[in-house]
Symmetry: C2
Subunit: 325 residues, 2 copies
């Protein structure tokens, strides 16, 4: 669990107190199951930290928005797992496997509605604005997921397209979470924009780092199969940067690595990493990551509250971006 | 198209002006496709009639709520069609067939979010209350769909369970539509409850009638395969009432009709209708329908506006319930 323990506990307690009906069991059991899988709860924490940043009087007033974000995140996981045909979620059976696809579609829908139910519990004067912020991030996440699926099927994805996709699919949720917290703490529109940009840029940097660590991370701390993205021909930032630079025989070598299904994984990884090295792909990807990290910190600096007040968010960002190797 | 032509045109124009982004095309093309399939648009009309009943000053103020209801209805159709593996929707390819399941899941999600976007466009003082009404009907529709799927798999469904299922799956949307219209017209809580009950009871009566017409309707006006529900062993109100009454050898006869896959459809229909007749199932189902129709009219009578003001809604209800034979 990242960051502030007190807030993390508040979120955990609120999640445990979520009182879903017992029936229909096939609708609500999957909802309970998903929310009980231990995630990092970083998104609901961002709501509370966004509220805290602007000195919210009573942090409890930010809890419904925080649950809305966590429910929404879980809605998107349940539906994405169907679309990606992912068997596992956080090491346990994904809903569409543990139950079935229909139940996963419908309990995902229910989680999305339950997210909006939480929005309706926010102090009434903030409901219209929170609804607008939430709708915007929600439709953008759908767009990002669609681009992600589209990109699997098309041959060439540009760096710009890829970054726009991850912005929509993963980053606007972080920015929106912070902005919702800021909004219930009555922050100004300008400060809300800064904190939103902090979250979005941090999210993009984090996703770029995730792509880099998949290949260059320390297997003992990264916790995923090393270079799984290379094995799966995933169009990560490394893949996209490389493809845009390939010259001469390397075009052919890249094609062989993508298409030769008889090649051993180890060999495929080694030869792909050789290509990455020839074209300084790691350096360029890291440079991009740094650029977005820098933009994130810059946005946070612009927020009109005292620097000590920003300590938690700096430390959370450091924590997220320090995960190298 | 039912009822008020002026309002029907306003809804049609608003739907045509719905400005969905062009990309990602795989997300928004299915949304446009669904909304262009010509439906009766009865649900968005109910929003406008609910607002009109309480003398809303400017009917345009009820349009966003009206679109929210129509988008929601289409969201539920897209997802239900996946779950029911229905090939067609309004005579055209269902989204999951015309595109694919993943696209249907995600564009359904987008339609749900777009419904909430419309809610955010309502006059700001009504947003929190509309959000509550909408959340309630939305989660209930999910519950109803889950019960419907559950009932397919279980052996015996009681009359009470069945009516509760159709209340949730189809009727609360009608009641909620009317209540949303009443709310933006600033109706009292008591009147809102009456108009909601009118819609819910009318919806239940309509669904019961639909079950009856499937077997006893005039094929030339009903527009569906006659007795399709008998052929498919669908647990309609007729099926449920019959099953609860069967005695002696008829238990066996019913079982044969449900399980003998070699029997010709015509014979199956005739023998099932014989059972219905022996146990006066049509009379009992019609009695139930009348009961809910009566409750609907009673609720409408209780609404504290002049009787002439209720003319449109009486006429709409008459229209819906006169569809016999």
């Amino acid at each position: 669990m990242f960051g502030n323990t007190l807030y993390a506990e508040k979120i955990q307690r609120a999640l445990e107190q979520s009182n879903f009906p017992s029936t229909p069991a096939n609708l609500y059991d999957p909802v309970r199951y998903m929310l009980a899988l231990s995630g990092k709860r970083i998104r609901p924490l961002l709501v509370l930290l966004g509220a805290d940043l602007f000195n919210i009087e009573n942090i409890a007033d930010a809890i419904p928005a925080s649950l809305a974000i966590e429910y929404f995140h879980n809605f998107s996981l349940v539906h994405d797992d169907i679309m990606d045909n992912a068997p596992l979620r956080r090491g346990k059976g994904a809903v569409h496997k543990k139950w079935n696809e229909n139940i996963a579609i419908l309990s995902g829908d229910a989680l999305l509605v339950k997210a909006y139910e939480q929005l309706a519990l926010v102090k009434v004067e903030y409901v219209p604005e929170l609804l607008r912020i939430f709708n915007k991030l929600a439709i953008e996440v759908c767009e990002g997921q669609q681009y992600d699926m589209d990109f699997e099927a098309i041959d060439s994805v540009t760096q710009q397209q890829y970054i726009e996709m991850i912005r929509l699919k993963t980053s606007v949720l972080l920015g929106g979470a912070l902005e919702m917290g800021a909004t219930v703490a009555n922050a100004t529109l300008v400060d809300r924009a800064h904190i939103y940009n902090f979250g979005v840029n941090l999210g993009i940097a984090f996703q770029l780092q995730d792509d880099i660590l998949d290949v260059y991370g320390d297997p003992s701390t990264f916790g995923k199969q090393i270079a799984g993205d290379i094995i799966a021909n995933k169009k990560t930032i490394l893949h996209i940067l490389l493809k845009s630079k390939l010259e001469n025989d390397d075009v052919q070598e890249f094609e062989v690595l993508l298409t030769n299904r008889d090649m051993a994984s180890d060999e495929k990884i080694t030869r792909m990493k050789n290509l990455y090295q020839s074209y300084h792909v790691l350096q360029e990807a890291s440079g991009l990551k740094e650029k977005y990290t820098h933009s994130a910190y810059e946005s946070l600096q612009k927020v009109n509250v005292s620097e000590p007040q920003k300590k938690e968010l700096y430390s959370l960002a450091d924590n997220l971006m320090r995960r190298t190797q």
